[in-house]
Symmetry: D2
Subunit: 135 residues, 4 copies
């Protein structure tokens, strides 16, 4: 069990067990993805072919920003509103898909882009699973 | 002219003048709103009646997170996609509306909530203006 | 091996193996701590005794902000400067210590404060280990 | 008077007028600098000579991260500790100086680097002014 799940379990607002599990998976996936994207952007900046990676770096930075915001906002259960959370999760899932598509174009040349694409796909799925659960 | 507008003017991608103006207004409004919400959350935490302000603090923190992400993502014009920007702006506008509504309930007692509600309304409008321009 | 370590291994700048290990531990600890603090702040806001937790919430929010910035900045190896990294890590370690001390005061009443204090101590140590390695 | 100053004036903790003025200048400078650095990084990514700008982009991203964290943390007056604020401000001032130095190398070719260097210098000074006031 991750720390995210542990804290959700001890939250004074009782959160249903199934939501807790799916929510913790989404929080963890968002945070992993944010950090991987931050690192992939930096690795791209160090590549000799950085001039071919500008779009990749930009989608990395965008994905990191929205994943971090999504994790923090969904972590806040004090005044949680599923009708706000769902479109936010949908935007996050789109950013993950855009970044995964872009990283995959470079995956055969750069292992960091391959790893990043995988993390983005996982985060996109985790966001979509939470949307389904909240609907 | 703000710094946001100055930098957009000197960006190697030529950005149409009308978009530049509306975009810079949105960036500036998002950043002002993010900081005001961060400060309002803190001022609420120092109020003797903080137990009545938990929802207000939460919507402040959420609004600050999404406004910061929205400003950074929209500032990135290297691989700008209006079809991604519009739903993100819509989510940001919703967060601003939620926070403004919540702050207004406390505006007669707390001047910082009044100021924050005003900034949130301004930011909501700036996001909606940019959505309209991109449509 | 975490994703942080995997990406560091595939970075075009060759990073010495021992630094990679200690750096990845620090990045992971900072990100865990940032998320735990974000969640602890929210759990505190939902407690009936929130009026006694204002300092705890504030140190949670500060610790989350500096841990996120520290993780992102140390992840950037393209122009890494140990002489900048060390005072940043020292500030982060201090924020973790302050937050752990404050959370521990509430640990017997609130399990989330206990979990958060543990994560802050772990992150403080990971920052100090990296400082030692860079010195 | 900026919004930062307005909110500080209405904060339930009475903040001395002179501190309010210097603090608001620092908050505003940090936020301007964070946004300018975010935009300069993006403009650099769109330059045909991006391969010569990797260090500049990295220092832009680092400066944006630490300026945002510094603004948010110093905005929190609920449990403000000058002994924590001072080393944080010193780290922020260093990041601003590093970024200004790097941007200045490209200022004759790129107007966005010139504008960014100016904002970083202003922010460095605002951080140092606040350190002096807190000492």
């Amino acid at each position: 069990m991750t720390t995210s799940a542990t804290i959700l379990e001890t939250h004074p607002r009782k959160i249903a067990e199934e939501l807790r599990t799916i929510l913790a998976q989404c929080l963890d996936a968002c945070l992993d993805c944010a950090q991987t994207c931050t690192q992939c952007a930096d690795a791209c900046l160090s590549e000799p072919t950085v001039d071919t990676l500008a779009a990749c770096i930009t989608s990395n930075l965008n994905c990191a920003d929205i994943c971090t915001a999504t994790a923090h906002i969904n972590a806040r259960q004090t005044a949680f509103d599923p009708e706000f959370a769902k479109p936010l999760l949908a935007v996050c899932a789109t950013a993950c898909r855009v970044c995964a598509d872009e990283c995959e174009r470079h995956a055969s040349h750069h292992q960091h882009c391959k790893t990043c694409a995988d993390d983005c796909r996982r985060c996109e799925q985790a966001c979509r699973d939470l949307i389904t659960h909240l609907s």
